[in-house]
């Protein structure tokens, strides 16, 4: 039995114009006892609503949420054995850092001495030892983030909910916190449900990613699966940079299949499960292409310098959408206007059934 079991969760909002929008439209999700699960999707996809219905700040219109087999839906937020890290951190400005961190114990009536020991322990876990006497206003953004984290783990919840907690931090700090969060989760041995719209964040930290759109789950899987084997165009497009090709299979040659776009761009696909004449969509990441002496001919329209790499936009000679290619920068690197040839490993192509 999974730690958290969500079944057929439905939540309908009434818009100011009187219309009805399903923020959650039949969501099923299991979270394991020591799992880092990320809810990922564009804004308005229902990921925050799902998180808030676990914490109890949103009531469901249908379906159930159970923790350890016990139904949560009848409990008010303050009786639910889960804790949340809020996007705005929501630190209590009129309290010291130590009192913020010990708040969950304070309201449970834990004795002062015992509380202080736990607070010191929690502050140490997030790397803020000795900061207890300060006010939240005296801390930097990253430190506030850690206080919010310490405050939410002090009551030892089995499940921690995180609502885009890193979105206010700058890039370097965010990347550092991503690794720290993942390490903390492993050390604490509790489940994290993490909401983000940042796909890079999701890929870095998660055991499993839940991709959502319009109140529904599009795909659940480990980061590599989501990236390499997206189930549909939406997931392929949303996670990372993608080239999508609408192709018709022309002929099968052993383990390879030759396919062609209406504009005449030819690609080689793994032939497994394909028949000649079939319409398919192929997914190729920018790094799946290499510059070669022969192959798909095209012209570089733009070359974007990214430091170590170059991001090329290549217009195929036959026409059709520009192809995005990642190439190593160097003396031989092409620039805008150059004619190039692109090659790819057929095994790297991920084939979707045509929509």
């Amino acid at each position: 039995m999974a730690l958290l079991e969500i079944r057929a969760a439905r939540r309908v909002f009434v818009t100011p114009e009187g219309g009805r929008v399903a923020a959650l439209d039949g969501v099923d999700l299991d979270v394991g006892a020591n799992e880092f699960v990320t809810l990922l999707g564009p804004s308005g996809c229902g990921k925050t609503t799902l998180l808030r219905s676990i914490s109890g700040f949103e009531a469901l219109n249908g379906g159930s949420i159970a923790l350890d087999g016990a139904d949560l839906s009848k409990l008010p937020p303050f009786r639910r054995p889960v804790n949340t890290v809020f996007q705005s951190y929501a630190l209590f400005g009129h309290m010291s850092v130590a009192r913020n961190v010990g708040y969950a114990l304070e309201v449970r009536g834990v004795a002062k001495g015992q509380r202080e020991a736990k607070v010191a322990e929690a502050l140490e876990k997030v790397g803020l030892d000795g900061m207890g006497a300060r006010r939240p206003s005296q801390l930097s953004g990253g430190q506030r983030q850690r206080v919010a984290l310490a405050r939410s783990i002090i009551a030892e919840p089995r499940l921690l909910l995180l609502d885009e907690p890193l979105s206010a931090l700058d890039r370097n700090l965010r990347q550092q916190m991503q690794l720290e969060l993942k390490a903390l989760q492993a050390r604490l041995g509790i489940a994290f449900v993490f909401v983000t719209h940042d796909q890079e964040e999701a890929l870095t930290m998660s055991d499993r990613i839940v991709v959502m759109r319009a109140g529904k789950i599009e795909q659940i899987g480990p980061p590599r699966d989501i990236y390499r084997r997206p189930k549909n165009r939406f997931v392929a497009d949303f996670i990372g940079e993608t080239n999508l090709f609408d192709l018709t299979v022309e002929r099968i040659e052993g383990s390879e299949a030759r396919a062609r776009t209406p504009e005449g761009v030819e690609l080689v696909l793994p032939s497994q499960g394909l028949v000649a004449g079939q319409a398919v969509t192929a997914v190729l990441r920018p790094a799946d292409f290499t510059l070669a002496a022969a192959g798909l001919a095209g012209t570089v329209t733009r070359a974007v310098y990214l430091g170590q790499d170059l991001h090329l936009f290549v217009q195929p000679a036959g026409g059709g959408a520009e192809i995005r290619v990642t190439a190593r920068d160097g003396a031989a690197a092409p620039s805008a206007g150059d004619a190039v040839h692109l090659a790819h490993d057929p095994a790297a192509v991920h084939v979707l059934e045509a929509a």
Partner: protein, 280 residues
């Protein structure tokens, strides 16, 4: 780039503005130390007599003239009784309107209910209403329901409009508050009552204190509404002073005014200090 002529003009304008605002106050403070009992606009010499007279100390003076001057104030006891009435009314009014105003601000910010907009509008109305209309309305209302005019009717009268003042100030603070604070408290296991006590009220404290101070000052200061709803035995300080002035402007008025200015400055400074304290 600053235009020097424009800048000079602005400086002069600003100085003139402050003179216009504060000159009357300094005139009164000056006159309160002028010993001339007949014409306060002609400087005689410096004296504390008017203050001594207020406090009922003048008759102990060996100076016969000072004793005569002390007769100008009809009764120190009457004035102190008026001050006591004012303080009692202000204390009750401040407490009641602060509690109701704060509770209303929280309710309107956090809960959704029918006719919320109408309710909001009605809360603003007593502030817009001319005092004289409110005073007459209250008087007619009290007479209609057969309520004797007393200190209680003054308190009720003051609460009707001061609740709105407190409400508006606390509501402004409430609007700037992150709703996630209350959610975080609930999330960490606090019931609504504990959240109110440990998070919401401390966060709103500067607004609540500001509203309470304003209510206190306005209640102490109110003449028009009090004039209509006060019973015969319940004279507040403004009503007492107004009564004195009707029988001629006497030097003691200046001393009373100076003391009131002093008290107001202390209260206002306290309020500003409380507001400036950081809460986040």
């Amino acid at each position: 780039m600053r235009n020097p002529i424009g800048w000079a003009a602005l400086t002069v304008f600003a100085l003139a503005f402050f003179v216009f605002i504060y000159a009357p106050l300094f005139v009164i403070i000056g006159y309160s130390f002028n010993s001339n009992p007949v014409n306060m606009m002609v400087w005689d010499h410096f004296t504390f007599d008017w203050y001594r007279g207020l406090l009922g100390l003048a008759d102990r003076s060996q100076d016969g003239a000072a004793q005569n001057r002390a007769l100008y104030i009809e009764s120190t006891d009457q004035m102190l009784a008026a001050l006591r009435t004012s303080l009692t009314v202000a204390a009750f009014t401040t407490t009641i309107s602060t509690v109701i105003g704060t509770a209303t601000a929280i309710a309107l910010a956090r809960y959704r209910f029918r006719l919320k907009g109408v309710y909001n509008g009605f809360l603003m109305l007593p502030m817009m209403m001319p005092d004289i209309v409110l005073g007459i309305g209250l008087l007619i209302f009290f007479v209609t329901i057969g309520m004797n005019l007393s200190m209680l009717t003054i308190i009720i009268g003051h609460c009707t409009f001061l609740t709105s003042y407190v409400f508006i100030i606390v509501q402004a603070r409430m609007a700037g508050l992150d709703p996630a604070l209350e959610e975080a408290s609930a999330d960490l296991g606090a019931s609504e009552w504990v959240t109110l006590r440990k998070v919401l009220l401390p966060q709103l404290a500067p607004g609540i204190l500001g509203g309470a101070l304003l209510a206190f000052v306005i209640s102490m200061d109110d003449l028009v509404i009090t004039y209509f709803v006060a019973g015969t035995g319940d004279t507040t300080l403004p009503v007492f002073i107004f009564g004195m002035i009707r029988r001629g402007v006497k030097p003691e008025i200046n001393a009373i005014a100076t003391l009131i200015i002093l008290a107001s400055v202390v209260i206002a400074a306290t309020g500003l200090w409380l507001r400036s304290r950081k809460t986040d």
